[in-house]
Every structure is written in structure tokens, then in C-alpha cells.
């Protein structure tokens, strides 16, 4: 649709016309703001914890363990220099040989969701599959945070949908 609109604008005399081909799906999947009625629906990005420890493939497990123990989370996300998610470490794997490398024990290519994933839907799926946490990335694979099921459940329990017209 947008390519046709772009060409039409040129035929109407516009000389600087750009086509954002990936569209609003790409925009929202990268965690950028949304306007409109759907903007009020809770999304994964609203609740994901952003202060998640990260590490590199060549980091030593002993160093990573110290970093994770300084937080209250149970995972460390493996990223490259561009912030692209390559793997995940859970705290139990960090008890391995402290001189070992992250790459040797990490869970490669973890399942990820996008920040605009509807929170209620993903929470239901996590409950059904007994998943405690899930990595949230942009459509480019860049780390946004980690969504904990417990956080999502608390958020949804407290969430009051806005009424039409307001009070």
C-alpha cells in the first residue's frame, strides 16, 4: 500500500517522497511509542525489566556470576557489541567451572518476543507452558529486557482498562 501511495504523491507533484516500507509493524516491534486506541493495551515492553545483566561470549563464568549476584534477577543475557542477543545464561549454569567461557554453557538463540506483544496473551502462554521469564528484543534482535511472568501477572491484576469517555 505505501509504495503505491509514494508513487501517487510523486504524480501529484511532491519531489521528496520516502517510503517506510517496513511500516508501523516494524516501528512498534522495536519498542517505539504507539498512539491510538490500542496504545492503552498493556504490552510486554511496559513490564519487561530493563536492568538485566549482560555479558559477552568470551567472558568468564566466574566474572558473570559476580555480576548476576549483585542483582535480583536470575538470568544474564549474552549480547555482542551491537547489543544483539546471542544467548542466555541462567543462574544454575553459572555454578560451572568459573574459568570456563560463557559461550560453552549458554543457551544459544533463546526464544524472544517483541515489546509490542500484548501482555495478557503472552502471560497466558507463559502460564500454560510454565515459563518463568522470556527475553524481549526489538525486531533487529537488540535486547530490550526480560519479562518475568510474576511481574506480568501483578501488572495485569492491578491494571484498570480506561473507560470510554472517562469520568
Amino acid at each position: 500500500m505505501s509504495p503505491r501511495a509514494a508513487w501517487r504523491l510523486e504524480s501529484l507533484g511532491f519531489t521528496r517522497v520516502f517510503d517506510y516500507v517496513a511500516g508501523k509493524a516494524d516501528w512498534f516491534a522495536s519498542g517505539l511509542p504507539i498512539e491510538g486506541k490500542q496504545a492503552r493495551i498493556p504490552r510486554a515492553g511496559d513490564v519487561a525489566r530493563r536492568d538485566i545483566p549482560t555479558c559477552r561470549l568470551t567472558d568468564r563464568l566466574g566474572d558473570v556470576l559476580a555480576r548476576v549476584q549483585a542483582t535480583d534477577v536470575t538470568v544474564c543475557i549474552v549480547v555482542n557489541n551491537n547489543g544483539i542477543v546471542l544467548g542466555r545464561l541462567r543462574t544454575e549454569t553459572l555454578d560451572a567451572d568459573p574459568t570456563g567461557s560463557v559461550e560453552r554453557v549458554m543457551e544459544a538463540g533463546p526464544t524472544t518476543i517483541r515489546p509490542d506483544t500484548v501482555l495478557a496473551a503472552i502471560t497466558k502462554r507463559m502460564q500454560e507452558r510454565q515459563i518463568d521469564s522470556i527475553v524481549v528484543t526489538t525486531s533487529d534482535g537488540r535486547l530490550v529486557g526480560v519479562l518475568y511472568r510474576e511481574d506480568a501477572e501483578h501488572y495485569l491484576d492491578d491494571f484498570q482498562p480506561p473507560t470510554e469517555g472517562g469520568l
Binding site: A6, L12, F18, G23, K37
Partner: protein, 67 residues
């Protein structure tokens, strides 16, 4: 010929004054759109509806995605 751009260029151009146009039907626009975008559905794109656009500023159009 229109230029295809990616997300980062959209942000840069909009920051520089480019006009953002959502060409989806009005109902879809009301549900969700990129902040700052105006709605001119493709079916209504004509000389009357584009009068609200400035000719001296870039225009960026978008729809849902590649489909």
C-alpha cells in the same frame, strides 16, 4: 522515484521536519499509528486531501508492513 527508508531514517527525517503520513484506512489509523502521523487513506489520496501537506518538506508514507 520514491526512496525506501528504514526506521532510523524515519526518525531522523521527522526530527528534521518531515511529514509522516499513515495511508491505511481510518479505522486502522484510529486503533494504532506512529505518533505524529496524519491519516490520508490511500483510497482518498488526491489533490484535495494532499492540500494539508507542505510541498517544501519531505513526506514519509507508511502502511502496516511489507504485506
Amino acid at each position: 522515484m520514491p526512496t525506501e527508508i528504514h526506521r532510523d531514517e524515519v526518525r531522523r527525517l521527522v526530527a528534521g521536519g518531515a511529514q509522516l503520513v499513515d495511508v491505511l484506512p481510518a479505522k486502522e489509523y484510529e486503533e494504532e499509528h506512529i505518533p505524529g502521523a496524519i491519516n490520508i487513506p490511500l483510497k482518498q489520496l488526491n489533490r484535495q486531501t494532499i492540500a494539508q501537506l507542505r510541498q517544501d518538506q519531505p513526506v514519509i508514507v507508511y502502511c502496516h508492513d511489507y504485506q
